[in-house]
């Protein structure tokens, strides 16, 4: 039994797989990118596609520049006979949330959640401006790095960090990725020039393509499918006001509220997989989640080492779960974000059975 469960049904991540994340994957269509990951995660549990109770995916048409691009990836699922399926035009972490709800309602006992991002076809910094408020922001085309840089400067002005501290976050992340064969950037890398000051290349995520998948299962099904299930004992997501000028960019109240509702603060965590595409955002998230120095933050290398947009948040949950599966963590917090400057945040607590 998990130590604490605040929800109707026990529910765990029982398998996780991800692609190697690369700068370009021109030789792969969406389904060709996703399918090996689907096969890997199914093989880990021994489940066939037809045995999955619910399938949910996350992606964004704006990355590929094509309408309904996600429908192509359904070819890789094996959708005949017809399956129960859904899609979110968001990071796969929110697809996982939908699957979590589906299992909590008793409509399904297992779920396949997958996500992918092919950022390489388009100018991703410009593409992401199209998610902004269309009246006051989008006409100015403020790119994703610029908005993160405004947040970074606000943190520096507030005394929460400085440029050397930000550089240390980038260096630590990419060093940690040395043991992650899927990461796009590994090992020691130069901090580089300013992209938008005060953020340098090393403070910004790489642009790349990749995919990830997890399988969720309830109760005894989870125990049957996995030696040490990663029980999701709490999960919540919150959003802040759309206008950047309305927010205190040095804080993330939505992350803090989601964490409270997920039970993060009830017991210590040993691992945190944080979806912080920019080094400065890790500073904000550490503060919001109250993480101390004893917590292993982004042992996978995090988003600074690989950032397949729309999959990167799901990967945080998958990486946290995989550490529990391997016995390297007992209680982990996983975080996913969406929108500029940490606008929306999802927090999940994952726990392993006592050893």
């Amino acid at each position: 039994m998990p130590r604490t469960s605040r929800h109707a049904r026990e529910l765990a991540v029982v398998a996780f797989a991800q692609s190697d994340h690369r700068r370009r994957t021109d030789e792969l269509s969406e389904v060709e990118l996703v399918m090996p990951v689907l096969h890997e995660v199914l093989a880990a549990t021994g489940l066939k596609a037809g045995e999955i109770g619910f399938t949910c995916s996350g992606s964004s048409d704006y990355l590929a520049g094509r309408a309904f691009s996600f429908t192509m990836t359904l070819d890789g699922v094996g959708a005949w006979p017809p399956i129960s399926e859904s899609h979110v035009e968001m990071d796969g972490a929110w697809a996982l949330y939908e699957a979590w709800v589906k299992i909590q309602t008793g409509e399904a006992d297992t779920a396949l959640v997958y996500a992918y991002g092919k950022s390489s076809p388009g100018p991703v910094r410009d593409v992401l401006t199209r998610q902004l408020d269309p009246y006051y922001l989008a006409p100015l085309w403020p790119d994703s790095v610029a908005l993160a840089a405004l947040q970074a400067q606000a943190l520096i002005d507030a005394g929460d960090t400085d440029e050397p501290a930000l550089a240390a976050i980038g260096a630590r992340s990419r060093a940690a990725a040395g043991t992650n064969p899927h990461a796009q950037l590994r090992g020691t890398l130069p901090q580089g020039d300013y992209q938008v000051r005060p953020l340098r290349t090393g403070d910004c995520p790489p642009i790349g393509d990749g995919a990830a998948a997890v399988i969720l299962a309830a109760g005894d099904t989870a125990r049957r499918l996995c030696g040490r299930p990663a029980w999701i004992t709490g999960i919540d997501h919150r959003i802040e006001a759309h206008g950047l000028g309305l927010r205190d960019l040095t804080d993330s109240p939505s992350t803090r509220i989601a964490a409270e509702h997920a039970g993060v603060f009830e017991q210590p965590v040993d691992t945190a997989e944080l979806h912080a595409p920019f080094s400065s955002q890790e500073v904000v998230l550490r503060k919001a989640l109250g993480l101390g120095d004893t917590v292993a933050v982004n042992p996978s290398g995090g988003t600074l080492a690989a950032n397949p947009i729309m999959a990167a948040g799901l990967i945080r949950i998958g990486e946290a779960a995989a550490r529990i599966h391997r016995g390297e963590s007992d209680r982990a917090v996983a975080h996913a974000t969406s929108g500029p400057c940490l606008q929306q945040n999802l927090v999940a607590v994952l726990e392993g059975d006592p050893r």
Partner: protein, 321 residues
């Protein structure tokens, strides 16, 4: 950096362009019309905070907001970011600072660009003022940018109430967007397109259910496995079903009525679609045997025409309709 993709993968420019037409509510209409008239309006919340730019609903209480007030065109930078490499469409094409500016009289900040000589000339807390665009239409870009301002601080006063009324108010905006992509169709579709250039059609067979997909997308949607076994199909095929098109499409040089059909190429496990030519539209029928017609330099069949063979038996294609 990873190795470059294999050279045989096709790539082509893909431009996505959309002019979104958006209507404005009373508050946004007053704000954007005000910019056209060099007047900056905010909206007052129940607790007295003035939001600039204004929203129609309080983000905390969700209460409707309608109390407009005029604020000053001068303000204070609350945070900034120096942009050495302006990107297309951004407000200035020379290096500039992104800034959040709290205008005098406002309690929230507005995002825009600041024209300054260099990063050392910008700091949080600096005073700035609006530089208006020469031609203003009622859009956020009517503010060309901000510029440093060392003039006197306006005497402290309450923001002045404003009725939001202007002659010829702006009621909508057109938000054009253009994004330039490079499309790559992936391995399976590249092979299909390359074969078409040689006037051949290739499909891929599912190793599990043995169905042949044309055009191939790399996966069998029934079995969820990769289709890697390449199969040449056609060139002839059978019309499995069709429709008669009576509406002339824009930019399409085809006389109506014409026939658009599903065509199962010989050896294929499903039908693709194409136009039927070389036969009066009202004589096209299910079971008609057709073959592709390429035009000079065409990379795919322009249309399909009857082969002259006897029609196929219904039983031969009924599974492919």
């Amino acid at each position: 950096m990873t190795a470059a993709s294999p050279p045989e993968v096709l790539r082509a420019p893909l431009v996505v362009e959309f002019p979104f037409t958006r209507s404005l509510g009373p508050v946004q209409s007053a704000f954007l019309t005000g910019l056209r008239e060099r007047v900056v309006l905010g909206v007052q919340t129940a607790d007295g905070t003035v939001m600039v730019p204004p929203l129609e609903y309080d983000p905390v209480t969700a209460e409707e907001l309608r109390e407009l007030v005029e604020v000053a065109p001068t303000g204070t930078v609350t945070t900034f970011a120096w942009n050495d490499h302006p990107r297309p469409n951004q407000p200035l094409d020379t290096p500039f600072a992104w800034v959040l500016v709290r205008l005098d009289g406002a309690g929230t900040a507005l995002l825009h660009a600041l024209d300054a000589p260099g990063p050392d000339a910008v700091r949080t807390g600096m005073r700035v003022r609006i530089r208006w665009a020469a031609e203003r239409v009622g859009a956020i870009t009517d503010i060309a940018c901000f510029e440093p301002y060392d003039g006197p601080v306006a005497p402290a006063r309450e923001p002045a109430p404003h009725d939001g009324g202007f002659a010829d108010p702006v009621t909508g905006i057109i938000a054009p967007a253009r994004l330039d992509y490079t499309y790559s169709p992936g391995r399976a579709q590249t092979a299909y397109i390359n074969a078409l250039a040689e006037r051949r059609s290739v499909g891929e067979r599912c190793p599990s259910c043995h169905k042949v997909y044309v055009p191939p997308r790399g996966a069998c949607p029934t079995c969820g496995v990769a289709t890697t076994d390449r199969v040449e199909v056609g060139p002839a095929g059978t019309v499995t079903t069709f429709c008669i098109v009576n509406i002339k499409a824009k930019n399409l040089d085809i006389e109506v009525p014409y026939v658009y059909a599903h065509i199962a190429l010989d050896g294929a496990g499903l039908a693709l679609h194409g136009r039927i030519g070389g036969i009066p539209y009202d004589q096209v029928r299910m079971g008609l045997r057709v073959e592709p017609v390429w035009t000079e330099g065409g990379r795919y069949p322009d249309h399909y025409r009857p082969t002259g063979e006897p029609d196929a038996d219904y039983d031969a294609y009924k599974e492919l309709i």
